[in-house]
């Protein structure tokens, strides 16, 4: 294992920023550290970099305990949220900084900086100062600067937070390809689940200082291990009484358990549009939102409020329309886990009622 954390905790006063976190990361993986703002993601990253000292627990890099190793000696590249470029230095000097400090030869510095300028597409900008660059360019300088001393591990704190939506998408793809080319183990912090799902090989989901789940985006999405993960990842609606949903009265749902439904679990439309009409319940369209690529329907089915997506190709629905609603599956939240329950009516497509 490349990076290992064992029982790491950090408290600020009475606030538990990181609470007994343990995980291990394989070499070469691109990890997305996802969670709500203030959940301890950045603190975790800063602990890894040596910029914060944990109160307890152990950090190992390549099997070696690094708790007492200064940030200067850890061989870690750090890309800060606001980039923290050196304002008074040109792009070239910013990228060269780590090598200058190591007293590398002029020729060596030049060849490495040239290589990185090429790699990050910043050639021609080497004489510019940070304030003369766009947000995306600054981000790339910060990236090149962190990579210059050939770190073993790259840490990125909300690398795309300050960049507008369109450039952010391009940069994400660019970064993913670049990291794959270099093959460096990387961890990036984000509060944007789309970003994490799109970029990361593996996700670490952190909430209130605790690690909720580690897994690939697909695992996290389809097999959430906790109620928090189920509700945080993906667009979801919480249902107070899942057993009251059509069909789920036959499923074994513990009393008092809550349910989570994602829009993609719900099929809504006129009776003839539904794949399994017998398993569908009646509902009413409350509101319709245009979401660019699809319509989002807000439905009421008995006392429950559900969200469903509808293709723009299908005939549009209006608020007040009566629709059939088929719920394919739900997550049932138990104490500290989420269990996926398929609609029992789907398994028995032709129930005979006598």
């Amino acid at each position: 294992m490349h990076i290992e954390l064992k029982g790491v905790s950090k408290t600020y006063g009475s606030f538990k920023a990181v609470d007994n976190v343990s995980f291990a990361i394989e070499r070469g993986k691109l990890i997305g550290l996802l969670g709500p703002s203030g959940g301890g993601k950045s603190t975790l990253l800063r602990i890894l970099a040596g910029l914060e000292t944990p109160d307890s627990g152990e950090i190992r890099i390549n099997g070696k305990r690094v708790n007492d190793v200064a940030p200067q000696e850890r061989g870690i590249g750090f890309v800060f949220q606001n980039y923290a470029l050196f304002k008074h230095m040109s792009v070239y000097d910013n990228i060269a900084f780590g090598l200058t400090i190591r007293k590398a030869s002029k020729a060596e510095i030049k060849s490495r900086v040239d290589e990185l300028l090429e790699l990050t597409g910043l050639r021609g900008f080497e004489k510019r100062y940070p304030h003369q660059l766009s947000g995306g360019q600054r981000q790339r300088v910060a990236f090149a600067r962190a990579l210059a001393p050939r770190p073993d591990l790259l840490l990125l704190d909300e690398p795309f937070a300050a960049i507008d939506a369109k450039v952010r998408k391009e940069l994400r793809t660019w970064l993913k390809q670049l990291i794959a080319t270099i093959g460096i183990t990387s961890i990036f912090v984000t509060h944007d689940q789309d970003e994490a799902v799109e970029v990361a090989d593996e996700m670490l989901i952190v909430q209130q200082g605790k690690l909720e789940q580690q897994g690939t985006p697909v695992e996290v999405y389809t097999q959430p291990k906790s109620a928090f993960v189920a509700s945080f990842v993906g667009h979801s609606t919480i249902i107070d009484d899942p057993a009251g949903l059509h069909g789920f009265d036959q499923a074994a749902i513990p009393a008092g358990a809550k349910g989570i439904i994602r829009p993609d679990f719900v099929e809504a439309g006129r009776a003839d549009e539904i794949s399994l009409p017998s398993a569908a319940a009646k509902g009413t369209v409350k509101r319709v939102f245009f979401r660019g690529t699809h319509l989002e329907l807000e439905l009421t089915v008995r006392a429950n409020r559900l969200i469903a997506n509808r293709s723009l190709d299908q005939p549009p629905l209006q608020p007040g329309d009566e629709v059939s609603v088929l719920i394919h599956r739900i997550y049932v939240l138990a104490e500290q886990s989420a269990v996926m329950v398929e609609n029992p009516l789907k398994l028995d497509p032709l129930p005979v009622h006598i």
């Binding site: 200067q72 750090f78 050196f86 008074h88 400090i101 660059l133 947000g135 300050a162």
Partner: protein
């Protein structure tokens, strides 16, 4: 800001749309009042210094400022500034560094103490040293036994000046360093830079204009200080007289032309300081504009 107005004039602020600005009459009345007041309170006395200085002709002026006592006062003033200003520069950087980069017990006390010289009368500041080093003072007898002269000598003048001027550099740097935060230093550390390397390569370049501004203000006050120095100097002509003290002595002896001539020397020193200050401010405003542009881009 410590005893000085920092003008960061931006053109944006001057370009006010009609609905939030005043009528031309109000505008001109306000400008006239400001200028008239300035002329009366600042410009008129300043001109009168030169008129009085040259009243009895160039030769008297020249004689007054080349008088051995005047030259020695000028030397002493420059010498005092030369010692006090570097001391306060080092102290100011260290204090600002400690306050903005670390958290420790007694931090607020330190901030309050830095402001102390501004909040008490300079005469009291001088008196403190008399109480400490005077013949009846705490250390007086011991110093006397070892034949060390502090009061009525250069060390006393330097101490009093240092005490009075020590807030300038620290006061200038603390808000600046607080605004800059520690991000760049952290970046430098993660790239392998250690304490001194971080200071020389990252921190100092970022604060250099603010630092220079603080040094200029500190220097201006060090050369002009009267109250505290007056208490500890002993007014020994040709020995412990600084320029401000020399001006007072001449004035009290009814040598008005000589007094104003020496005063004009101080005015020249002040003008030089102001010119350097303006250049620094102009530079800072360019840097500031650059940074604002950077922030505007980032959002």
């Amino acid at each position: 800001m410590a005893g000085a107005v920092t003008s960061h004039l931006s053109h944006e602020a001057a370009k006010r749309p009609k609905h939030i600005t005043e009528s031309p009459i109000v505008k001109w009345v306000l400008i006239s009042i400001a200028l008239l007041f300035l002329a009366l309170v600042v410009l008129l006395p300043l001109i009168s210094v030169f008129i009085e200085a040259f009243k009895q002709g160039m030769s008297v002026y020249w004689a007054s400022i080349t008088d051995p006592d005047a030259v020695s006062a000028l030397k002493l003033t420059l010498m005092t500034a030369l010692i006090a200003v570097p001391l306060n520069t080092i102290f100011g950087i260290a204090a600002a560094w400690a306050i903005t980069k670390f958290s420790f017990r007694g931090k607020n006390l330190l901030i309050t103490l830095i402001d102390l010289p501004f909040s008490i009368s300079p005469v009291i500041s001088g008196l403190i040293f008399v109480l400490l080093f005077g013949a009846q003072g705490w250390f007086g007898p011991w110093l006397d036994d070892h034949n060390i002269q502090i009061l009525f000598a250069l060390p006393g003048i330097v101490l009093a000046t240092t005490f009075v001027t020590f807030p300038f550099v620290a006061r200038e740097l603390i808000p600046l360093m607080q605004a800059q935060g520690v991000h760049e230093e952290e970046a430098a550390a993660s790239l392998g830079a250690k304490g001194w390397q971080i200071f020389w390569r990252v921190t100092l370049p970022n604060i250099k204009w603010g630092l220079l501004y603080g040094i200029i203000l500190c220097n201006a006050r060090a050369m002009g200080e009267f109250g505290a120095v007056s208490v500890v100097s002993g007014h020994i002509r040709g020995e412990t007289n600084t320029l401000p003290l020399h001006v007072e002595i001449l004035y009290n002896e009814y040598q008005f032309s000589a007094s104003f001539a020496v005063a004009s020397l101080l005015v020249f020193l002040a003008v030089i300081t102001l010119i350097v200050k303006s250049i620094v401010e102009w530079r800072t405003s360019i840097v500031q504009a650059g940074k604002e542009g950077e922030q505007a881009d980032a959002h």
